[in-house]
Amino acid sequence: MRIALRLIPGLWLALLVAAPLALVGVMALSWQAEGVPPYSPPWAGEGTNPENLRLLAEDPYYRDSLGQSLLVAALTAALCLLLAIPMGIAIARAGKWRNALLGAVLLPFWTGFLIRIGAWIGLLRDEGWINAIIRGLGWTDQPLHLLYTHGAMLVGMVHAYLPFAVLPLFAAATRLDPLLEQAAEDLGATPGRAFLTITLPQLLPALAAAFLLVFIPAAGEYVIPELLGPPNATLVGRVLFQEFFQSRDWPVASALAVALLVLLIGPIILFQRLGRAA
């Protein structure tokens, strides 16, 4: 019984987590082919195919997609932190309102992110709410093109991932001793200095965790760039979808997945270390 309870989930996860990942690696070394499925594996006679991975390194289109993804993910994570640091601390210090405020931050996570992106589409489009306000104020007659820009994409990403960033910072902030800041002020630090020299350093591990918690999933994001971003925001998630569904080039799509994983493996390990330390 005890053994069965270990074996059944173990087998499931081996079959649907470990084996699939291994297949992605194999596929990255396979050849695109006519047929269903549209590839021929390394053992079908042609040997391993180094071209897919080489293509990623040499073709600026793919290289840039990876670079852009990391940049957008880092920007998203940084913007999230900027909001999440004061929010996490303020909620931790909110006394009896703490749980209600935390709920208010986390609730959007449960409301489905497609809906929230839909809301932004409605707000940002040419005849949308924000343009209506701008027109109403008489600033301009021409609608501003807000939707399908890098700005819109970032706003959507920050909106989607902000709750992830608030959570670890809130948790760390509740463990802070509020007397430490008072001690610093007693020793002559201004409130701002006390915050910078006492509170912030203690939040560093949580800051790193919050950054990575946003950065890792954001790097592979597909839906938000697709719905809010400009056509030239060719992030790796979008390129992977294109290669897979439009070009039906499974090997190149897999090579992109492998490259993304390789780039994220460091952050993932770091994140798990931080999680264990906390």
């Binding site: 996860l13 990942l21 409301t111």
Partner: protein, 262 residues
């Protein structure tokens, strides 16, 4: 006590999070066919929604997939979490922990692609699962859900002393009886919360479903995604409002369950 700038930032953040959603809900009741333009109170978009068979079908399919995936996830993830928290060291424990944690940190495009490749390979090898559709989406969502449930259950059990199970045995309960009368009731809130979490994840997923569904199994999020690609319609507003109401209800339930368990 709390500096003013902290409080200002908190309210700004909350407004940023909630204002778009609040406007979306408000304008779902607007009669105007242009979304986000007020044309008087109306429920016409809700009734339009009720006549949209394609969406209703997708919604019904999604609910069934989510319920099935969440149930599977609770069984597999519950066992995994319990084994990781309570079985002590055993051969393969590290591997099980890593596999259970992997879906939590992998980008969803990678998970989606890898699962599709696995389903294709499985079909080629043993003829099952035949083609892609609701079943493969369910298996994909169950796998993702398993990882989440395992984490929730494991951390719930880790926060509880092993003393409780030992006390039960000390008082004469066989290991099986101790599990049924003490461990399982302790896990129950986590299992229930995990079920709802897995259910919500399944109802919110576009990427895994896009990879694993094929033309046959269009789920609600996939349908909503293709609608949003063409822009916003008041019908989407109405649908979003309904989904929000459902999510709020589910969350209230989770909160209640977790509070009762403490």
């Amino acid at each position: 006590m709390t500096p003013r700038w902290l409080r200002a930032a908190l309210w700004a953040g909350l407004a940023f999070l909630w204002l778009p959603v609040a406007l979306l809900v408000a304008y779902a009741f607007s009669a105007d066919p242009v979304p986000f333009r007020w044309g008087g109170f109306s429920l016409r978009w809700f009734s339009a929604l009720a006549g949209n068979d394609r969406l209703l079908e997708a919604a019904w399919l999604s609910l069934r997939i989510a319920a099935g995936a969440a149930t599977l996830a609770v069984l597999l993830g519950g066992a995994t979490g319990w084994v990781l928290a309570r079985h002590g060291p055993f051969a393969g424990r590290a591997a099980l922990g890593a596999l259970a944690g992997a879906p939590l940190v992998l980008p969803e495009v990678v998970t989606g692609l890898s699962l599709l490749l696995a389903f294709v390979a499985l079909e080629a090898a043993i003829g099952w699962p035949a083609g892609r559709g609701a079943l493969t989406v369910l298996l994909a969502h169950a796998t993702l859900g398993t990882a989440y449930v395992a984490v929730v259950v494991q951390s719930r059990l880790a926060s509880r002393d092993r003393d409780l199970e030992e006390a039960a045995q000390d008082l004469g309960a066989s290991p099986a009886a101790a599990f049924l009368t003490v461990t399982l009731p302790l896990m129950l809130p986590a299992l229930a919360a995990g079920w709802l979490l897995a259910f919500t994840l399944s109802l919110d997923d576009v990427v895994l479903a896009s990879f694993t569904s094929g033309p046959a199994g269009t789920t609600l999020p996939v349908a909503l995604f293709s609608m949003l690609r063409l822009g916003m319609t008041p019908e989407v507003n109405a649908l979003a409002t309904l989904l929000l109401a459902a999510a709020g209800l589910a969350l209230a339930l989770i909160g209640l369950l977790l509070r009762r368990g403490d």
